[in-house]
Subunit: 202 residues, 2 copies
């Protein structure tokens, strides 16, 4: 082995030892409150990637879409047509809020979505619930942030995972969450005149 390779092996060994020590302390399992927020792309995609993992592990899951209701998104078609037994898929929103321009209708849709969300989270058969774009409904105060946070902290079954997506997550939600990822936009093709494309954006 060359010197460089020997140094590499030594360095990797140290990293492995440090990682093994760290992992030994990670013994607890519990349902997580996860938040995907920020202006970057991928917040919903990543939530749906976890839904795919749940299907793979035989963990029943539920999705409540709060905003993208009118879009015929790839995920919705795919999950409804092919995984109706594994994933319960609900849509409460009726399109992005600027398509509707009716605040009372938006509020009613958000509240219906939240009622469904609570039922699914409380259902002992369900291991993972994705509340897609709920942060938009919270941001416009269509839903009461205190009620949502209190439910997640005190009524969510201990082992149930809940993932909440959408930009501008409220500080109360970030405070309550176990895992928060901020998606930051470094570069976006819209700036160069490229439109939303299937497979990527929907």
């Amino acid at each position: 082995m060359t010197d460089e390779n020997a140094r590499h092996a030594e360095k990797m060994k140290k990293i492995k030892a440090a990682r093994d020590r760290m992992m030994e302390t990670k013994t607890e399992e519990k349902g997580l409150i996860m938040v995907h927020t920020g202006p970057g792309k991928g917040k919903s995609s990543s939530g749906f990637g976890m839904i795919m993992r749940c299907i793979a592990h035989g963990m029943p899951s539920a999705v409540v879409q709060f905003i993208k209701g009118n879009w015929d998104t790839g995920e919705k078609t795919f999950l409804r047509e092919r995984f109706a037994d594994e994933v319960r898929f609900f849509v409460s929103g009726e399109g992005f809020t600027w398509e509707v321009q009716d605040r009372e209708k938006d509020i009613a849709a958000a509240k219906r979505g939240w009622e469904i969300a609570k039922e699914q989270i409380l259902d002992p058969e369900i291991a993972f619930v994705l509340l897609d774009e709920i942060n938009i409904a919270l941001r416009y105060d269509y839903l009461d942030i205190d009620e949502v946070v209190e439910f997640l902290l005190y009524q969510k079954p201990r082992m149930t995972h809940v993932c909440l997506t959408g930009r501008n997550a409220k500080p109360e939600l970030i405070e309550a969450a176990d895992l928060v990822t901020e998606y930051t936009l470094v570069k976006h093709p819209f700036r160069d005149g490229v439109k939303a494309q299937k497979g990527v954006e929907f």
Copy 2:
């Protein structure tokens, strides 16, 4: 309608008009070079969420996993068992690099992965290629960044999408990409002693 609702409708109308104007300028379709980087969670999940969208739209895709090879990940099982016709799934890495501690073996695995990646990207049947954790191989110079960037810029078929994931993306790759998202860790449950859990982390 109350005053508040009227103001809301007016504001939403303006947003919709601005958005419609913006979308009119977005007319181009092209295959994107996408990068998911940063220390936050969800970089691979989001890539696999796009794979799910491709399946939903009938767009054939390919995955090359550069690093997580030895992990029996949910995605791999799911895609290989249930979507072998829609998604080609390759594994080149043999586990996280600190598990192996053999630089020459790692380099050989990375190079094998890159050969497969090029074949898949050049294949006219394939619309989307996910190069999962390739940034790790680039970071340690297991692969030559200039070669990878030149291939993506000059040999990738125009309509093919390629998504490259992994932390510490090289500046050359960020410069070449159309869409770059930085995943920032705001909060992680490992800090509180919670271990990696199925459905969420793998």
